[in-house]
Structure formats: structure tokens, C-alpha cells
Amino acid sequence: MTFTLLAEGVVAFLLVAGGVFAFTGSLGMLQFKDFFMRLHGPTKGTTLGIGCVLIASMLYFSVTQREFHVQELLITLFLFITAPVTGHMLAKTGLHMHLRFITGTRGSLPELRDEDVGQSRVARPAKARHPWRTRRKSRLPR
């Protein structure tokens, strides 16, 4: 009896915490000024909220049906692996498309230079440079 009550309290707490975290992530995505600031909310807050909800579901079904459930753990693991990858790719896309940002946001695109220069299939062509400097830079090392 007390164990069931304790498990119910833990499940209820995890559900409310997950809802609050998901709400906070989406609120950050709605209210921030900048794309690179807006990227912070969903990639951290919403992922943690979904993890809390899935772990609550796993605890609930493990207690009520008397057997151990791992499907929710699978979804949690998958989301926790893929969320940083998605955030990284979205940040690279935002840097690549030269999105406007407010003055407090730091960081620029020197990380993307190696991919921008010398590749044929980019959505936006690289800027024009000095021809001899470009030629010297793009020569392959022996």
C-alpha cells in the first residue's frame, strides 16, 4: 500500500515536472529574440521534459502490470541521442544561411569556412575573394 502510494507520488511528480519542462522549452522558443537563442529552449528543456514523461510512464506500467517495461527507455535513449545532433545541424544551418542576430549573440562562421570554400554544392555560394589567395589556399597539400 505504501509502496503503491509512493510510486504514485513519484509518477505524478515526474508527469508535472515533464509538463513544466516542455512548457518552458516551448516558451523559450516563442519568446527569445534570436534564432541562436531560440535554439536553446527545445534542445534542452523539451528533451528533459519528454524524458521525465517517458520515465513516469515506464514507472507507472512497471508498477501496475507487475513486469518491467523498457520500451519507454528506448524512446528516451533515442531522443537523448538525437536531440544534440538535431541542435548541431540546426545551428549549422542557421550559420550557413546568415540569419540575422542581435548584438549580444556571439559566434560567427569560421567553423563553416572549410565547408563553404571549395565545395560545389552549397545553397549559397561563397563570397568572392582575392584570386591568388584563393588559389594558394585551395591547393592540396602533398
Partner: protein, 89 residues
């Protein structure tokens, strides 16, 4: 206690999805809308899990797994398209 927590969580996640749809409608650039779609599918996974908790069935977890994998693949495809101009080079 569990019913109340379920209702609170459902309301919060539906409000989060409404905010995602608002950002999807008024996002100034393409990556903003892409980020809104990404968060929308993650929130829909939570909504499906809460529906499974409410109806006390395990039927919907396969749908949640499918939405997770296909949403990730779709986001990656659109990111590749915006970055390189092509999905599979």
C-alpha cells in the same frame, strides 16, 4: 493524485504545442519553422505517451517510436537540403 497530475501535464503540453504552432506560423526564417516542427514532433510524442497513460494501454508506444525516428530523419533531411542543396550526394 495521478488524475490531477495527468490533467496538469496534458494542459501544459497542449499549451506548449500551441506555442510551437504560433512560432511555426510567424517564424521569420526557414530554420525557425524547422525548429518549431522539430519541437512539435517531440511534444506530440509526449502527448501520445500521456494518452497511453490515460487509456491505460501500451498500444501507442510503437507510434511514439515511429514518430521519434521519422521526425529525426525528416529534420536531418531538411537540414541537409538547406545546408548543401541536396539530401543524398
Amino acid at each position: 493524485m495521478l488524475e490531477t497530475a495527468l490533467m496538469i501535464s496534458l494542459g501544459l503540453i497542449v499549451a506548449a504545442m500551441a506555442m510551437n504552432v504560433l512560432r511555426l506560423a510567424r517564424g521569420p526564417d526557414v530554420p525557425d519553422r524547422l525548429l518549431a516542427l522539430d519541437t512539435l514532433y517531440v511534444n506530440s510524442i509526449a502527448l501520445i505517451v500521456l494518452l497511453g497513460l490515460w487509456l491505460n494501454t501500451k498500444t501507442y508506444f510503437e507510434a511514439a517510436i515511429l514518430i521519434a525516428m521519422l521526425g529525426f530523419v525528416g529534420t536531418m533531411a531538411i537540414c541537409r537540403y538547406l545546408l548543401r542543396g541536396d539530401i543524398i550526394e
